[in-house]
Subunit: 113 residues, 10 copies
Amino acid sequence: MERLETFKNKYPDRDYTITIVNPEYTSVCPMTGLPDYGTFTVNYVPDKKCLELKALKYYFLEFRDKGIFYEAVTNQILDDLVEACQPRSMEVVGAFTARGGITSTIKAVYKRA
Amino acid sequence: MERLETFKNKYPDRDYTITIVNPEYTSVCPMTGLPDYGTFTVNYVPDKKCLELKALKYYFLEFRDKGIFYEAVTNQILDDLVEACQPRSMEVVGAFTARGGITSTIKAVYKRA
Amino acid sequence: MERLETFKNKYPDRDYTITIVNPEYTSVCPMTGLPDYGTFTVNYVPDKKCLELKALKYYFLEFRDKGIFYEAVTNQILDDLVEACQPRSMEVVGAFTARGGITSTIKAVYKRA
Amino acid sequence: MERLETFKNKYPDRDYTITIVNPEYTSVCPMTGLPDYGTFTVNYVPDKKCLELKALKYYFLEFRDKGIFYEAVTNQILDDLVEACQPRSMEVVGAFTARGGITSTIKAVYKRA
Amino acid sequence: MERLETFKNKYPDRDYTITIVNPEYTSVCPMTGLPDYGTFTVNYVPDKKCLELKALKYYFLEFRDKGIFYEAVTNQILDDLVEACQPRSMEVVGAFTARGGITSTIKAVYKRA
Amino acid sequence: MERLETFKNKYPDRDYTITIVNPEYTSVCPMTGLPDYGTFTVNYVPDKKCLELKALKYYFLEFRDKGIFYEAVTNQILDDLVEACQPRSMEVVGAFTARGGITSTIKAVYKRA
Amino acid sequence: MERLETFKNKYPDRDYTITIVNPEYTSVCPMTGLPDYGTFTVNYVPDKKCLELKALKYYFLEFRDKGIFYEAVTNQILDDLVEACQPRSMEVVGAFTARGGITSTIKAVYKRA
Amino acid sequence: MERLETFKNKYPDRDYTITIVNPEYTSVCPMTGLPDYGTFTVNYVPDKKCLELKALKYYFLEFRDKGIFYEAVTNQILDDLVEACQPRSMEVVGAFTARGGITSTIKAVYKRA
Amino acid sequence: MERLETFKNKYPDRDYTITIVNPEYTSVCPMTGLPDYGTFTVNYVPDKKCLELKALKYYFLEFRDKGIFYEAVTNQILDDLVEACQPRSMEVVGAFTARGGITSTIKAVYKRA
Amino acid sequence: MERLETFKNKYPDRDYTITIVNPEYTSVCPMTGLPDYGTFTVNYVPDKKCLELKALKYYFLEFRDKGIFYEAVTNQILDDLVEACQPRSMEVVGAFTARGGITSTIKAVYKRA
């Protein structure tokens, strides 16, 4: 996987929220081999580190040729981003386009203990 | 009824939400024999099992020729899906198209005791 | 008044919500004699009885030639529907079209003691 | 029928267009006795006379208790309004709310020979 | 096929337009056996006969269990409706829901020679 | 100021909500002398008295030629309406059109002690 | 009336279009004395002169306390603006807010002979 | 390239229109190597052959890993589809997502001589 | 930095909310030197002082040529505005346009201890 | 001015249309010194050359600190782009944000003689 990068949060004394929306996600369905498309929304309260956007973009591009299910990719992205920037809290939502007339959205949340 | 299928939830340690929208529901009104149409939204927190989407699609198709009321179908779908995947919680919403100028929406919720 | 009708709730063990929207309400303003128009939304948790939709439609039609104020009709509909189906809770919202450039919406709620 | 009223067009040397929209039309279906609802749009180029809006409003109210079909009412309104204000041209569109899931719109046009 | 019915056009001296929208069309895909869904819009200038809406609704219902392609059904509906009411002109548009991420719309037009 | 009028609340035993929207507010900016425009939304739970809508409309018209700031007018309207109808609670929101590319909205709330 | 101002068109060799929208028009109804509100859209092809926007804004403000009908004000604005900037062509559209549930729009066009 | 397939047009005596929308197009920018995304709309009048949708879907998928410019891909798709189904006329529109804040849309048209 | 100005809050006894939206923010990206664009929303409960809008507008203009990151500018604006008007609470939201297909929104909140 | 760049049109035998939308235009008002904002839409049929998008982006950025009127900038952009790519035809539309409540849009068209 492409390395996520971070930069120092200059306002660590304040709980504030960063929301990032990537409407250009695509990967491959492991069962059919056909592409999946979706929009990922990441919402987090940074602690010491913020996610660098350009590296995040390249991170998302790594899924383009990967076979992965909706539930798996949403949870993995949450795990990867939490590990990279160690936020106070984070929510990841994957909203995928319709397949067979049915639309799926997965939402996973991390809250520091 | 068509058998619902499930697959193993790989992230059982985390409470996350799966939302599935099926805008192509149709059944038959038991009183008039005329078709009903609606959109079903299923929203659940999986435990050990996730609903497999293709089988879920075929499950919905089973209602196409069935005579059933709005309240009954919404509650039955909740019962069937809860039985199939044993979620931590689930919400089923059936939003039906207007009849006689009047629109109905039914929402039923399951929460594990 | 036209008699409201009910049918037996087959899922009395579960608190679920029924929402009914009637965008074709009309009555007569008692002061000007001119027609009023609006959309009524009824939202309730049934107990032993559900409101039958066709009878409900005819119930609404009874207001067509009646002179009644916005606040009165919204509260009366709540009273009538509560009396008819004895719900666990009910909310009635009447949203009326603009008169003199001003729009009014009335919301009344019943909760069983 | 309520008398339509007109006032003198002060700009007869110019072809200009007047558009009037009434979203509060209602009448009665001659077959079922149930109310119909719709929006009427009148679009005309006045000649010597313009339609007075208040009288036009009362004219529309006359249909409230009348049994009349969609095609008939749209054509009759065109005939009545043309007779009243003798325009250079006029278009009347009646857009009615759905019945049995099906929506109808009727458009009739008059052009002075 | 269910018989289409017509009623006499009372305004044959005027070219006017009738638009009918049916958002509740469904049939079966001849290749997959899975249901198709769509919205049909019929737009015509009547001559001596207008299409009766209730019979038209039942006509559309006849496709519910029929295996037929998008192009075929749109052209067949145009042929059937033209034969039934002999209009001066007619346009039929079938707009179908997405399959495999791809949406199709078919438009066919009849103009009396 | 134009006198606000009230009528007796016939349902004083129930806490219900009345929402009134006036999108046609205008006054004059005390600094520039230029007109301001906005939409006022009043939301209240009546006690013994309800606000009469026609008098309320004339009350709003009194601001047309008055020089008053956004914060002042929103708070004054809350004070005036509370004094007039002595509600259990009331919220007044003034949403004003953009000036210099910047839009302002003021929200003031009253809750009976 | 406030004086309209113009500035020199630097591209007189080209037919190009200038569209100006003023959503903050208000005047007074000559019959009821109550304010009218609307949006004016001016669309023109300049010849030697363009309308200066600040002066145009003050020109519109002059109608604030004036009693004038919809048809009259739309045509008068067209006449005034044509006289001021002598355009190759101009269209003025006044779209007024609903009164008694009915909305009016007036469109007048000038084309140099 | 994946082979496009066609099926026989059963209504060759009538000029009718088929519109196909694919919102899931993606390819690779030849300059940056980064993915491009867009929606393709194909609009054609068939002659003897219609485009088969499943093969068309696979045809579009072939661009996923291909480096190609907006203008080139739109014109190539038009050429390929025209060659495959020999239509009476065809229009292809590629609407691509923003890059550097700027959005591009390319439209190419074929008309049989 | 341009000096922010304030005026005396005339309703200090009441907790009310002022919302200000500026959709015309622009600054420069410190990494690429290219302009950034966004909408800033400021939402606060004033104590003794309110923010003067014209000075606030000039304050925002100071960022036009400044190189500053999304997180930094949102937090700095919160700090500057809190210092200027000493509110009971304040929320600042910066919603920036897409870069590389990815959109960012930053929300920072101040609450008086 | 930044140099516009072009690349060779590979489909010169076909009249096709390229539409480019830049919603991030800003310049300075020559009278007030305050920034203007707008969206530019360029629509052209290329002949031998197409506009290169990255250079076009830098071209637009050159207006950021320039004092120029709406009419002038729209016509100048048309002149510059026509000179750069010598198209068969081109249309440039500048839609600017509201000033003093009034919105302006300028549209200029070039057609090769």
